[in-house]
Symmetry: C2
Subunit: 228 residues, 2 copies
């Protein structure tokens, strides 16, 4: 299990922990595999621990009574999920499903809480993770309530092409899933993509989007400009 301990020591949540703690964590860890589309846990289900994604991609989402879905998070390898239920309430507050073949490490609640109370460093890391999530949700609420869909999409695009002014953005999820993440439906997103293309702001080839006019996109993201 050297490989597992190795991975664990590189997870942000566990960064900076002494080797001894990493070993303890490895001992209580259980690895689960999931196929594309498989449910990991469901909203309201009793929670007995938390997960850290090892491989693949997982979506955390809510479902309406009519079956419409709102994605809260796309989890990437190294990120924890299902952590809320460990510290408050005893049930998961949303659904989790593998978007592709995935592996996740499961940490049973009791043992994990034990480690946290013994290691202030781990506690601080966990507090940082939860705070980061809260900040993210704050922005999500802001987007859903105060911005229109083109604004949200423009922000999404720009945040994905932030680093080293690369113009190419490769969507890591299907367009329909992106729509759900942006709080809309595939049709609406498709129309917005179409408009942006016809205005010369971007080009789209499957999941590959090229930003042609960054300034205009920033104008839309900030609400200063609108799509025609």
């Amino acid at each position: 299990m050297a490989k597992l301990a190795d991975f664990i020591s590189n997870v942000t949540l566990f960064k900076g922990l002494p080797k001894e703690q990493i070993d303890k964590l490895s001992k209580i860890a259980v690895v689960h595999g999931y196929r594309r589309g498989e449910e990991i846990f469901s909203d309201g289900e009793r929670a007995n621990g938390l997960y850290v994604l090892f491989l693949g991609r997982v979506k955390i989402f809510k479902l309406s009574s009519e079956g419409k879905e709102q994605i809260l998070h796309i989890i990437e390898p190294g990120e924890p999920f299902g952590e809320v239920a460990v510290f408050s309430g005893k049930t998961f507050p949303a659904h989790a499903e593998a978007l592709e073949e995935s592996k996740a490490i499961f940490f049973p609640r009791g043992a994990f809480v034990g480690l946290i109370t013994q290691d202030p460093y781990l506690a601080m890391n966990m507090l940082a993770v939860l705070s980061g999530r809260l900040k993210y949700f704050t922005r999500l609420v802001e987007d859903l309530s105060l911005k229109e869909v083109p604004q949200r999409f423009a922000s999404y695009l720009l945040s994905g092409s932030d680093l080293k002014d690369k113009r190419q953005v490769h969507l890591n999820i299907a367009k329909g899933q992106l729509a759900s993440l942006l709080g809309t439906i595939p049709e609406t997103l498709s129309r917005i993509l179409g408009k942006m293309v016809s205005e010369g702001l971007i080009t789209v080839q499957g999941r590959k989007i090229t930003v042609l006019n960054r300034d205009a996109l920033e104008g839309i993201a900030s609400g200063r400009k609108a799509l025609i």
Copy 2:
């Protein structure tokens, strides 16, 4: 300052802490007063600590570029606020403003973090607080994205009249503020109230709302029924 220590020991965040810790907390605490409408901190402002509300009522909110507001939270006495910035990033993720004459206890970041690393109990309490907030936001996102305004309002009403089947709900904030909390505007809320009254579901006298037909409201809250 016996009174302050007394209050602090009754705050959920500090529940179960030994007297010694409470004393330390009292020593690093600073009390601030705010008048109605006064800003406590603003979005993006550098954060040097967290607050616990002592008296009054505080709204945590986001503003759009056009000035529309979305309330994230109404803080009641005993609740902490501004805590996210202590553990992640260094700036407040939203605005805070006193809705009425208020007093808040301020805990400087460094000293507070020091106490947390010394007391696992305090750390666990803080984790529980953050998790609770996350759960709350999960529901807020769900409401904004997957439910219509009448549904949100019906849920709000019912959660306010939950205990001991009391039919009277007294709004603790102005209707305009409630609209902002529900992710809409005063006009829309007013129309919904009007419809519910004319359908005989409720009566409204200022801030006093009486539930006449709980079943119908539950139908609306769950999305099974609609308003005419």
